[in-house]
């Protein structure tokens, strides 16, 4: 995963609190088969409103750092919420309090959830609104946010910071123990030589399958009618 140390980019003030994951991405997009390409689904219903912040020319398709009100990411655990933010271009979300599951999902996908007091968030909102489209800097090494002349500290736990700075995802972390996996596999081959493999494929003798045909009418609309 892409390493995250310093992020420079347009800060977007989202003056809302308790933003749930249904607002971040509605359930209908869960039918998709990809993990990327969710940028159009982000804040889907809010973006129908021309006054929504991401519809302003200064922010549209430029936002990199989202500054939002408390309790961001509550509700359903869908990892799609983080995918949508990331696909849109956001690498950092700043908030005074994140929902647990959302918080966990961010780091899994290389997105920083930076925690700072609500007063700091208010100050950032003011600065960003004074000069829409203004760039700000989030420095994960120093744990600071810089906007104009103002520098503010933020919190992030050491383990998450270490993972993000190194660009580790869960798979990378596990692969650090590849020796242990390889050692287990050697032991497994020796102690359990009878464990099944799916390849090469073994079958019972083949017999053709024919399609079932419909039986009965297709005009049933249930006891309550159509």
């Amino acid at each position: 995963m892409e390493k995250l140390t310093v992020v420079n980019g347009v800060g977007v003030p989202l003056r809302r609190s308790s933003v749930d994951t249904d607002q971040i991405i509605p359930a209908v997009f869960l039918k998709r088969v990809t993990r990327t390409g969710f940028e159009d689904a982000l804040f889907y219903s809010w973006r129908r409103d021309p006054n929504f912040v991401l519809n302003q020319p200064e922010y549209r398709d430029k936002g990199r750092i989202l500054v939002t009100g408390p309790d961001f990411g509550i509700g359903s655990s869908r990892e799609h919420a983080v995918w949508a933010l990331k696909d849109y271009g956001f690498r950092v979300v700043i908030c005074s309090r994140f929902a647990d599951i959302f918080y966990g999902n961010t780091a899994k996908n290389g997105v920083l959830a930076a925690v700072m007091p609500q007063e700091s968030v208010e100050l950032l909102w003011k600065l960003l609104e004074q000069e829409p489209g203004r760039e700000m800097t989030v420095d994960l090494v120093q744990r600071t946010v810089n906007c104009g002349d103002v520098t503010l500290p933020f919190e992030v736990n050491d383990y998450t910071r270490w993972r993000l700075m190194n660009g580790y995802d869960d798979i990378d972390l596990t692969l650090q123990h590849e020796d242990a996996i390889a050692a287990y596999e050697a032991k497994r081959a020796e102690c359990f030589p009878f464990k099944p493999k799916t390849l090469p494929a073994l079958h019972e003798p083949e017999r053709p399958i024919s399609s079932a045909r419909p039986v009965g009418g297709g005009d049933w609309f249930g006891p309550m009618g159509a």
Partner: protein, 467 residues
């Protein structure tokens, strides 16, 4: 102190264990895949430029989105069709073995692997599907995982996990006639509740469990998740070995002997201690039917729909009121007086060959009641379908007025065309009676194949004893 079955299987898969509170790294022997929860995992691998570590420990099939009629025609649902072609493309690109619709080994992900002999005692088996617990019937540790974890398993063949707690459910004594595995598990869930197994691996034990066939054991373990448990297990024995012997992927010759010797060690030691223990007297069990909107809201078929006014616990009373309202049932209604519209026999819970035989044994020589709109019989796997046809069961079903379909999940979740209408009432051999599960506004009563078949004959909920 000795260990439990679950602890032994865990220990035999430990890749890495540290004592600083970090999770264990567990080796995964087999991952089953299907079209719905795999696309993002494949995409993740592709984006990271990774390859599966062991394609020979992965296998895929098509089940959730597949039609059960006209399988030789294009899929009428475009979104479903896209998910299916995506799976096919991914499997081809990454070298994963796939049994697509139309293949004799295709079927519901939890039915096709046991058929092939890929599900064996002492294995760790995962799948992006909560009913992976089914495979625990062989004494495997099998559980459902999320899409990120599917990707993790493909890339590393391991999972980072904290050990589960262990629970014993002892079903003592002999099962009365007409009481099947489905009744046992519905009774267990009604007793311990839908959250009763949270955080546990349940091991089913006792004389009644030992007497069950493999198909019946799979029915029990399948619904462990409906009690909130991560997995269910049954220690392997002669019944297990008998089932496996000669299956395409079962060990052969000397390997077989070596495997059986190991499998025989997979039992809970006499002095092992479970974190929790529940005992049920088999003699007191009866055919069970659910009246509500979760699998724990069930009762013996001879009982009546509960009266919320008689329930002391406020939360339980309110959930009962809501359930009866949704189900369109009055308190105190005898369960046997409830008329149904549709009968569904199938799913990974009760769509195996023995389930089909059980339903056919009741239906033989009868015709469905006029008031029953449709009877769908959907085998869990194409192998079960072929076997049933060899035995002439399909003829019994069609003579009965039932529709004989191709294998798949079908009306268990209504992701394909097999949906129920608003207000329509079914008796279903599947595993979830949640609101809208079988179609928007649908009302589901869960039951065994015997009860479903008897209900199809009489039109109102009935057991074989009522015929």
């Amino acid at each position: 102190m000795g260990g439990t079955l679950a602890e032994k299987v865990w220990a035999d898969h430990l890749v890495r264990h540290v004592s600083d509170g970090a999770p264990d790294l567990i080796y995964i022997d087999l991952m089953l895949m299907h079209e719905v929860t795999s696309p993002q995992a494949f995409e993740g691998l592709r984006l990271a430029g990774r390859k599966p570590r062991h394609t020979d420990l992965l296998i895929a099939t098509e089940d959730h989105n597949t039609p059960t009629i006209d399988i030789d025609k294009p899929n009428p649902d475009e979104v479903s069709a896209k998910q299916l072609t995506t799976l096919e493309k991914n499997c081809k690109e990454f070298g994963v073995r796939l049994h697509p619709l139309g293949d004799a080994d295709q079927g519901i992900v939890h039915a096709f692997a046991p058929n092939l002999g890929l599900t064996q005692p002492g294995m760790t088996i995962v799948c992006g599907d909560s009913h992976t617990s089914t495979h625990g019937a062989f004494g495997a540790l099998a559980f459902g995982i999320g899409t990120s974890e599917v990707e993790h398993v493909m890339a590393t063949q391991t999972l980072s996990l904290k050990p589960f707690k262990t629970m014993a459910v002892n079903v003592e004594g002999k099962l009365p006639k007409g009481v099947s595995a489905k009744d046992v598990i519905l009774a267990i869930i009604a007793k311990i509740g839908i959250g009763g197994g949270q955080g546990y691996v349940i091991e089913y034990r006792g004389e009644a469990i030992r007497s069950l066939s493999m198909d019946a054991r799979m029915t029990i373990c399948n619904m462990s998740i409906e009690a909130g448990a991560r997995a269910g297990m049954i220690a392997p024995d002669e019944t297990t070995f008998e089932y496996l012997k000669g299956r395409p992927h079962a060990p052969k010759g000397e390997m077989w002997d070596q495997a059986v010797a190991y499998w025989k060690t997979l039992r809970t030691d006499d002095d092992a201690v479970f974190d929790a223990e529940v005992t049920i007297d088999a003699a007191e069990l009866a055919p069970y039917v659910t009246w509500g909107t979760n699998p724990g809201q069930g009762a013996p078929i001879t009982a009546s729909v509960p009266d919320p006014a008689a329930i002391a616990d406020v939360a339980e009373r309110e959930s009962t009121v809501a359930a009866l309202d949704y189900m369109g049932l009055k308190p105190g209604t005898p369960i046997k007086s409830i008329p149904v519209d549709t009968v569904f026999i199938g799913s990974c819970t009760n769509g195996r060959i023995e389930d089909l035989r059980a339903a056919a044994s009741v239906m033989k020589g009868h015709h469905k009641a006029d008031s029953i709109h449709r009877v769908l019989v959907v085998p869990a796997s194409s192998r079960a379908r072929l076997q049933a046809e060899r035995e002439g069961l399909d003829k019994i079903f069609t003579d009965f007025g039932a529709e004989w379909r191709n294998a798949g999940c079908s009306m268990c979740l209504g992701m394909n065309q097999d949906k129920m209408m608003p207000g329509e009432r079914s008796i279903s051999t599947s595993n979830r009676n949640f609101q809208g599960r079988q179609g928007k506004g649908s009302r589901t009563h869960l039951a065994s194949p015997l009860v479903a078949a008897a209900t199809a004959i009489r039109g109102t909920i009935s057991g074989p004893a009522d015929l």
